[in-house]
């Protein structure tokens, strides 16, 4: 009896510890998986709230400001074609109107999900169409604090997600999710995004650079509802916390379903845009 008991007691702690460790590992990995799934679900809910917009066109003004407060502006027009397939990115065309010396310059992008995008630049002075390396998606876009990836790479499958917490963000309650880029050539190790729990729209994004330090903070404001379904922010404020430079992106009125199709986003169209 004693022997048995002793034996049981003798074995028990190891056995118990093992059980405990396994159980803990299972539950913690389940929890981690849970957190990843929850993060993904929040991002997916946000991404899918935008489904079916088909195509859109919008004018934008970009206001650049350096640390000394000196300002410069660029005006551009963005045309986007939604590609319903979630494993392929959207197509976009950016046309510059000012500064006057780059008027007519155009940038055509065929976004991919994880590989590099296909991009062509049209230079009106030479009337030259140039295929460019899309490795540079993390560099400054026309001298601003926005990188090209900042306003094109919000597609669901470009990131892996981790749910962090829920907290208030202004008058709203936000889910806070960490996302890490899975696509090539990103300039970021991770981003922290605040997604509100009512309209599921992005409110704040923090960008962490390749060294893991906080680099920039983007605030997305002035959301307006189109066609009773599609929310669009009309003011994006990007602050570079390391250089103290900032850039604002002010959107005009969006136009949806303007009849754009694949053929408007072909390389061959670039030389006859205007």
């Amino acid at each position: 009896m004693n022997l048995v008991k002793n034996r049981v007691v003798g074995i028990h702690p190891i056995f118990y510890m093992t059980i405990l460790l396994v159980a803990q590992w299972i539950s913690s990995s389940a929890l981690a998986e849970n957190m990843q799934q929850k993060g993904f679900d929040i991002a997916a809910r946000s991404d899918r709230s935008d489904r079916g917009f088909s195509d859109s066109e919008v004018k934008m003004t970009m206001v650049l400001q350096n640390a000394a407060g000196k300002k410069a502006t660029r005006t551009l027009r963005l045309k986007t074609l939604e590609i319903p397939n979630e494993s392929v990115g959207d197509k976009s065309l950016i046309l510059f109107s000012t500064p006057k010396d780059i008027e007519g310059t155009a940038l055509l992008s065929h976004a991919k999900m994880l590989e590099s995008d296909d991009q062509w630049l049209y230079l009106p002075a030479l009337k030259r169409v140039k295929r460019i390396s899309s490795k540079n998606k993390s560099g400054p876009f026309v001298g601003s604090e926005f990188a090209f990836e900042d306003f094109t790479a919000s597609e669901l499958n470009k990131f892996k997600y981790e749910y962090l917490r829920q907290e208030s963000c202004g008058v709203l309650i936000c889910d806070v999710v960490e996302r890490a880029p899975l696509y090539e050539n990103s300039g970021y190790t991770k981003q922290i995004v605040w997604v509100d729990s009512i309209e599921y729209q992005l409110r704040v994004i923090e960008f962490y650079d390749r060294k893991g330090s906080l680099l920039k903070e983007l605030r997305l404001k002035d959301y307006r509802l189109y066609k009773n379904k599609y929310w669009r922010p009309h003011l994006l404020t990007m602050k570079n916390l390391q250089t103290k430079k900032n850039s604002d992106l002010v959107y005009g009125e969006y136009k949806f379903k303007v009849g754009l199709s694949n053929s408007d986003f072909l390389k061959g169209r670039l030389s006859s845009l205007r």
Partner: protein
């Protein structure tokens, strides 16, 4: 008289330069868009002119202006473009010239587009030479880099398919290359006789040229193929019987060519090649090379690219002159990626046989919203007496240009 007029023009330019903004409103989506630029250019030559009768001054001022009027119909299917250009040069009467860069009407419907009128077309991928770019004649008097082109009258029919872009061109009127006059720099010892160019074709400049181009991309490869039959854009130099005059002779040629770019990560691999039949034996020419860019160098925002290209051309000396026969180009491109959009392109082209070396620096930066400053430096060393570029060997220069866009 000319000088005082010039001073008046200078004052007018300064006035335009600091003219307040008429309107900051974005002109996107406007059906009629009028814009343009005026530019003041200063060239300082580092050596005395080589040939007699060239202007003895080592400096040269000139003004240029370009107006752009664009109209598009409400549905966007019809477009009209009108772009006149004018330059007024202090020293060289031939460099004072005007041209219609564009003056066309176009109509597009689904995947077909028809364009009638004067237009400019660019083909190609390489940087040190533009080998396959044949539609437009070079406006050589503007700049010896051959990137300025004269407007070309054409009927252009284009078909955009999923599998590529097809372009057909009928070119009913030939533009002769512009050259410096007797007082100007960049000329041969005996100035070429422009006003009496010779043609192989009996219809002279009214010969109907034809061109076709297919272009598309396949994954990371961008491809262009072309065919051209008509008047060569490159004139041959022919001496008159008494050797007192040089004539320009424009032959009939037939050409096929290829341009190719492979884009992978920060690498651009480039190739242009052509085979041309014309005056004598077939000519084969190619420019091939690469460009690699280091992005956001030194943890900053600027980029530096490295460019290497090899130029080869097997044409005999009695053909139209080319300097790109067996040459290496090594260059670097820096872009500031900041508010001013500054950039510097610096390169050197070395002839592998003669060691003749050409240095080129082009830099520019935006100064305020609508003013762009440009610097250009061109130097040639080791020009042998028997080299075609010997004629220009005393024409090294530094150029400053201030552009006001409106």
């Amino acid at each position: 008289m000319v000088i005082s007029l010039f001073k008046a023009a200078f004052l007018a330019f300064v006035w335009v330069l600091f003219l307040p903004e008429l309107s900051h409103a974005a002109s996107v989506n406007k059906k009629l868009d009028v814009s343009g630029k005026v530019a003041l250019q200063f060239r300082g030559f580092t050596q005395d002119a080589l040939w007699s009768n060239q202007n003895s001054s080592d400096t040269e001022y000139s003004f240029a202006g370009e107006l752009e009027v664009r109209w598009s119909s409400h549905d966007g299917n019809q477009q009209v473009s009108f772009i006149p250009f004018v330059r007024w040069d202090e020293n060289d009467k031939k460099r004072s010239h005007y041209d219609l860069r564009e003056a066309y009407w176009s109509y597009k419907s689904d995947d077909v587009k028809l364009l009638l009128g004067v237009n400019k077309v660019f083909w190609g991928v390489t940087e040190s030479a533009h080998l396959v770019d044949i539609i437009n004649q070079t406006d050589l008097v503007e700049n010896t880099d051959q990137e300025d082109k004269l407007g070309q009258p054409m009927a252009n029919l284009a078909f955009q398919k999923d599998w590529g872009l097809l372009n057909f061109y009928l070119l009913p009127y030939f533009r002769e290359r512009s050259f410096s006059g007797e007082e100007g720099r960049f000329r041969t010892q005996i100035p070429a006789n422009f006003d009496d160019a010779k043609y192989e074709s009996g219809s002279k400049r009214r010969h109907l040229d034809f061109a076709f181009r297919y272009s598309h991309y396949f994954g990371e490869v961008d491809l262009g193929l072309h065919y051209f039959k008509g008047t060569s854009r490159d004139p041959r130099l022919e001496n008159s019987f008494d050797n007192l005059n040089i004539f320009l002779k424009y032959d009939q040629i037939e050409q096929i060519g290829l341009d190719l770019q492979y884009t992978k990560d920060a690498w651009l691999w480039k190739l242009e090649a052509l085979v041309r039949d014309g005056y004598d034996k077939s000519i084969f020419a190619t420019v091939a090379g690469l460009e690699y860019t280091f992005y956001q160098i030194f943890e900053g925002v600027s980029d530096i690219g490295v460019l290497i290209e090899y130029q080869y051309d097997n044409r005999p000396a009695y053909e139209a002159v080319t300097t790109a026969d067996n040459d290496m180009f090594i260059g670097t491109r820096w872009t500031s990626n900041n508010m001013q959009d500054g950039s510097v392109l610096a390169g050197v082209i070395v002839d592998k046989k003669t060691s003749e070396t050409f240095y080129n620096i082009e830099a520019k930066t935006r100064f305020k919203e609508n003013i762009v400053l440009e610097l250009e430096v061109r130097l040639t060393t080791q020009s042998g007496l028997d080299e075609p570029s010997y004629a220009y060997s005393q024409d090294d220069y530094v150029q400053l240009q201030i552009n006001r866009f409106f």
